[in-house]
Symmetry: C2
Subunit: 228 residues, 2 copies
DNA sequence: TCGCAGGTTTAGGGCAACCTAAACTATCGC
DNA sequence: GCGATAGTTTAGGTTGCCCTAAACCTGCGA
């Protein structure tokens, strides 16, 4: 069976493992069993067993007691899932009235059920977007991905004006709150004030002033240069 | 656990069984183990085992060696799947460029992954259609379904003019051929000639003449009355 | 009415994924 | 350099769903 043929028949579970490992090892740093277990809400022994199977399938490499790294093939399969996930999110928001805090769970199930053909048609209907509703970059169909360099809003200097590019999607509550403030990718903000020792920051966006704490300032990722 | 709550967590397999049984027993006539096995391409013992589980779940009733009938709850769950399937088909054809011979397999996988919310949004985007692309009626969200009375084109009298309402979807090849002749739901045809002893029929549709055999004439279901 | 053919069910087994409990290793503080 | 602790793996078990082989009914024709 060719590597590509193997990727055609991955289990739902396998797909989830690959996605999790990809997420945990952005620059090829190995992911630990317990990190994976925590992210997928499984027991460590379950992960250990699956890791063994996946390494036998050639999707990852496992150094016992050290960690796990995706092979080129594993990475390709993971990126295929990420592409699906983010395109589905974009599609649901654009065409079916979903809000950015509710798409994640729907996409989480659909990504395992769609064919490549359907994903590409959704991409076409969307005009082949570069990012999903949270600003996360969508990998290309050929498996390449461009992760733009971003700066957390918490690192800005007072007085800087900059565009929000990306928002951590993991907490729906937080997304809902940010949406209520109008803080989303594409919006331009100006940092008006920051209190010392991790204190609140005041910023202006679309003519309104908002005061936010460190946590929010941390997950609001901005373009590197003002106006860039 | 309430009956409704049980229906929330049905397995993919269970959903397929219920759909199959619903399809095999249109008027409550019991379905046999082997019919189900054949439709789902499973062994008879597998079906036997699953039937036992489903009857313990209260989704169907099983008279050993006799057959299987859905309970009210089982029927409700089956109709929910049918609604999903047909709405997904309609959506894919309308918005994502699918043809009526290719939607089935895509819908077959998606129907297990969508939430009720998503299905209802697709229904809304479509304007709550009454039928899918093959003319099959879409059950309502409340579980009711209206099966229109249809006559196979093979039963028409020469000279009758009538509207095609519904086409059997089970064979993609056949659907493709019918599409190439322009014979699809909503099209009005006139029967010009029929040869005896199951011979070919000549008909006129959209200004063109076609000659079709018994098999096709059998799966083209028409409105009961001319012009109705 | 008896037996046989077909359909059905029981028996027994496999695989994918999960779990808990117990055994194991790696590393850090002393 | 040596445990204790935190993290990891092995052992053994469960559930869902599938299979083949063998035992079992049922109804029909002789």
């Amino acid at each position: 069976m060719s590597p590509t043929a193997a990727a055609e028949s991955l289990t739902r579970s396998v797909e989830d493992y690959l996605k999790a490992i990809y997420r945990l090892s952005p620059e090829g740093r190995p992911a630990s069993t317990s990190e994976i277990a925590h992210l997928l809400e499984l027991s460590a022994p379950s992960v250990s067993g699956m890791v063994k199977r996946l390494s036998e399938l050639g999707l990852l490499e496992h150094a016992p007691y050290k960690g796990v790294q995706l092979t080129a093939e594993g990475r390709r399969a993971a990126l295929r899932m990420v592409r699906r996930h983010r395109l589905i999110e974009a599609y649901l928001v654009r065409f079916l009235g979903y809000s950015w805090d509710t798409v994640h769970q729907e996409a989480e199930r659909l990504e395992h059920a769609v064919t490549d053909q359907l994903v590409e048609r959704m991409a076409g209907a969307l005009g082949h977007p570069a990012t999903d509703p949270h600003g996360d970059p969508i990998p290309e169909a050929d498996g390449s991905i461009h992760e733009p360099v971003c700066t957390p809003l918490s690192d800005l200097e007072v007085g800087q004006t900059i565009e929000i590019r990306r928002v951590d999607e993991s907490q729906p509550e937080r997304l809902r709150y940010l949406a209520s403030l109008g803080l989303r990718p594409g919006v331009v903000v100006t940092l008006l004030d920051r209190q010392p020792f991790g204190g609140p920051m005041t910023l202006e966006a679309a003519g309104e002033h908002h005061v936010i704490g460190q946590e929010l300032a941390h997950v609001l990722l901005c373009a590197r240069e003002a106006g860039a």
